[in-house]
Symmetry: C2
Subunit: 358 residues, 2 copies
């Protein structure tokens, strides 16, 4: 099993790639097109969307908010380069994927009742549920518009892949919600859900630029295999951060996923592990599911559950799973003929995803 | 100004077209494909969608529910024929438009707090808000999938038109919601909102089959002009039914739009008319907007408002507006070269839309 480089995210020592610059390129090249697309929305949806993206604050004043890590735009531009096209060719794909990603965040935050994202109140909290639904819908529609107005056969193929990925993303959210109400979820079910919820759209980010650049379906599918497993690695790390992440870095509450009774990977792995800690955890969570006081649980009560998950091996298993998925992602890259520098950057991004702290 | 034929909907005497058969053809040809598309959804979304479409009841038993008038599928098949193609060519378009239409119903019912549709409890009421959001999202995604998997250039053009129409539909819903919180809305603002909310998707239904059948953009645009004005006529009649419709026929509450403080055409026209009834109505609605007892208003209080709207001329103006839009729609048909029988059917459908009782 390969080990993940312990390099700082800013400079991947294994590849010599400057990750910060790579993410910044994706953000810099795609944001103006993204903002122009969002500006097409009728008021007040344009304002609500601008708030969501962190471009303005809740009072409508210009802000330089945290728009997220922007991993997907960086991937979409590399995707075009993987097919031998200029990075610019991937821009509409980068924008469309970001629009779909943010459509899902707007709706998921409302469905999940999440009050904070990227250190700020969520849209439904500030502007109400109707705006969260409407603006989400509008971003999803804009995604198709941005691609299809290119008017090319490639744009149609790219939109089809994006639509399929979006359906999987919705399937994943449906599974995620249904699992919260179930006492037991298997590790396989959890991985399937996470593949849908996170893997599918990351996969699309990695194929969409290539498709716009004229890549054939086999190349696109192989790039998607890299993206899908990258997504699973990403989500495994997210699940670790959702329990043990530093709220200062993640912008979420402490024990965030436990507060939401998420059946995330560390939890399902711990429950499946057997042994005393696993058994005790199962008893506690079963009682929690029936508890009327859950919302007033103290920090200590969540800390107890987190400690049991760790003792049962759920934290270590998830950490290993991130590395397993990372390895499978990297292997897929060997099956596509692409410029060496592009390959190195995709490897570096995969490394970054696994070592990130937010 | 042309008068609308007073024929029964079942047999338009002006054209000799059997409207019931025409609507039934659209339903019969598109429903199996629609059901197959919905069956692709992961549980429980497939079940929730099947409930929404009236195929099963709230307990999951097969039902033969009211799936709506199915005007849009009928139009999409005629649209293909208008371009000289077989009606079957329009089926994916009919299905995609129905999916988008129902996506918007699912989300709008939740945003508007509507508890009844087609004589049954709405999805958010039966299955909860999260399912209404999720299944709506899934239907929207399916719409793109159904078209784009055709893999043709025409499918890309059709999807682009559908996406643009969907954006307008979302704009219209955003305007509709914002108008509910405003004291005054002009007739022009109301017409713009209704054009977005109803006109745009009906327009797309009338162009989508033709585009799939290879029609050029000019033909598609002219067909859309017919559909857009048909949509405005449709909505004017809907606004009349929303106040004076028979609950037995419409499946909605009495005074449905007044209960929701909708600034629909009869209301805004009455407020714009001037005169004593208009003034009194304005005073009442302004007081209603600040009232804490609005939800417990009696039938009589709504009847008083409806009578004032009628006295101020809002009912008659809206009725005339339906006829004006009907006439503009019919005129557009003269600018497209199409088989005479297809033209007669499109005329008959426009007549039906204006005389319908539900």
């Amino acid at each position: 099993m390969p080990t993940v480089p312990s390099a700082s995210p800013a400079d991947d020592t294994a590849t010599g790639v400057d990750i910060v610059a790579l993410l910044e390129r994706g953000r810099t090249m795609s944001t103006p097109v993204l903002r122009a697309a969002v500006d097409r929305l009728a008021p007040p949806m344009n304002t609500v969307a601008a708030y969501h993206f962190g471009w303005i604050d809740a009072q409508g004043r210009p802000a330089d908010g945290d728009g997220g890590k922007a991993v997907r735009p960086a991937l979409a531009l590399l995707s075009a380069e993987a097919a031998g096209a200029a990075p610019e060719v991937g821009i509409p794909g980068a924008v469309a994927v970001e629009l779909v990603h943010n459509f899902s965040l707007l709706h998921d935050d409302l469905m999940d009742g999440d009050e904070q994202r990227r250190h700020r109140d969520t849209v439904w909290k500030v502007h109400g549920p109707a705006q969260a639904i409407l603006v989400g819908d509008a971003l999803f529609a804009l995604a198709g518009e941005v691609l299809l107005e290119l008017g090319t056969v490639e744009a149609g193929r790219a939109t089809r892949r994006l639509t399929t990925a979006t359906r999987k993303l919705i399937d994943g959210q449906a599974q995620d919600i249904s699992y919260e109400h179930r006492e037991r979820v298997t590790v396989e079910e959890c991985l399937e859900m996470e593949g849908n919820k996170t893997g599918a759209l990351l996969a699309c980010a990695v194929s969409i630029g290539a498709v716009l650049g004229g890549a054939d379906d086999r190349t696109a599918d192989t790039l998607e295999a890299y993206g899908y497993h990258l997504g699973l690695a990403f989500q495994a790390v997210d699940d670790l951060l959702g329990i043990w992440g530093d709220p200062e870095s993640t912008g979420k509450q402490t024990w965030s996923d436990l507060r939401q009774r998420k059946k995330s990977l560390p939890v399902v792995a711990a429950l499946a592990a057997g042994g005393p800690a696993s058994k005790r955890l199962g008893e506690l969570l079963a009682a929690d599911a029936k508890s009327n006081d859950f919302d007033s649980f103290s920090e200590e009560e969540f800390a107890t559950r987190a400690a049991l998950i760790e003792e049962a091996g759920g934290r270590e298993w998830t950490s290993q799973e991130a590395r397993r998925q990372h390895a499978v992602a990297i292997e897929a890259l060997d099956r596509v003929d692409m410029p060496g520098q592009v390959r190195a950057q995709l490897v570096a991004l995969a490394d970054f995803v696994v070592v990130r702290k937010r």
